[in-house]
């Protein structure tokens, strides 16, 4: 359009050019922002942190018949049974004398701390040293290990019975780690005399 010449006006300076209207480069970004934040919110809200952890467990090598299990000094035998209940007895099993006591996962802390006082006190002593920076973390770990190996430290024998759930087993192993019991074993061999006591105790559950 601008090039159309009107005759005889060629030398008459710059003629009026019709300028394209300069529209602003600003576009309304509000919908885009809306969308972006919608997506953002969606992704943040739907993301669940899926973080499974693992619990390492070493099972005792199945006993060969000629190998007698070592004499246990300071043992607690815990039977896991139905309704998340725990029945336990201290020391070795003596027919007619041993009685099962009943507890559950909430009270287990008391039972474990009561029966493991010496070891816990020692470990707490080291913990104070650690806090006061008298010993290093590695030293603390090795000292703790040392205490857990001592004879006075509690040795827990865990025997899930046929009514126990897998969760109970995990929970109790977890409790062992929490209470710093270094020596524990999960066994499935319930002796007949233990089973007899267990059956009687289970009737009242």
């Amino acid at each position: 359009m601008a090039d159309v010449q009107t005759g005889g006006d060629s030398g008459g300076g710059r003629h009026k050019k019709k300028r394209a209207k300069k529209s602003g480069t600003h576009i309304d970004m509000t919908p885009m922002v809306d969308l972006a934040f919608l997506l953002l919110t969606f992704f943040i809200l739907t993301t669940t942190m899926y973080k499974p952890a693992t619990l390492q467990l070493t099972f005792p090598v199945p006993n060969k018949d000629d190998v007698k299990p070592p004499k246990v000094e300071n043992a607690i035998t815990l039977f896991l049974t139905k309704k998340d209940q725990i029945l336990y007895y201290r020391g070795g099993f003596e027919l007619g004398i041993t009685q099962l006591e009943r507890t559950d996962f909430k009270q287990l802390t008391n039972v474990l701390t009561m029966n493991n006082k010496t070891a816990i006190e020692q470990i707490q002593g080291y913990q104070k040293d650690l806090m006061a920076r008298k010993i290093t973390e590695t030293a603390f770990d090795s000292l703790k290990n040392e205490v857990q190996k001592q004879k006075f430290a509690l040795f827990a024998i865990i025997k899930p019975d046929k009514d126990a759930k897998y969760r109970n087993m995990i929970d109790i192993v977890d409790e062992m780690d929490i209470h710093g019991i270094g020596k524990y074993a999960v066994q499935d061999s319930i002796k007949p005399e233990e089973q007899a006591l267990l059956d009687i105790a289970k009737q009242t559950l």
Binding site: A36, T54, L55, K162, D171, D174
Partner: protein
Amino acid sequence: MPKIKMPRSSPALDMTPMVDLAFLLVTFFMLTAQFRPEDAAAVDTPSSMSTSPIPLDGLMTITVDSTGRIFWDLTEKPVRIAVLEKMAERYSLTLDPEQKERFASLTAIGVPMNKLNTFLSLKNAGERKEFDRDNTGIPTDSLDNQLQWWIYETNTLFYNEIGKKVLVALKADGNTPYTRVNEVIKTFQGPIIQINRFKMITDLEESRL
């Protein structure tokens, strides 16, 4: 008094940096999101205070769901195929390459050997799920302990191909009766496999999240 005229400022503000940021975050979340592969069995693992993370590779997972069905899973694809071939040989099955490829891309497998052929012929995931639902998992009975052979073949083949021992993880539902889990542990400890150390997969305790 002359009226003071306030300069009328436009209410439009430059949103470009905000949009940049928003899209950056969107892109980040979209790219980093990992979709959890659908499991053959819904397993609600118990929680523990343990924080040691689960290894991402070289892991054989034995899953036990709440009804006691057993599944086998391995992370390494080439070894999966090798294991499948060995198992097929052991139970004299003939599988075509397509079935093997499908087996490699799946996750947990929980069908008895005599149904494996049918299972691997199923093309879509829905059908396989349906098939899984009617199944009893990998048998562990003493006459024909198929789980034992799955683990045995995985152990040996993994060691031969990757050059290190496969990590064993047990993933069981919290409500599984312990006796059932114990059967699996007994299989682990059996004379042929002899695994006495393994990991148990748990969730983080709520308070630790």
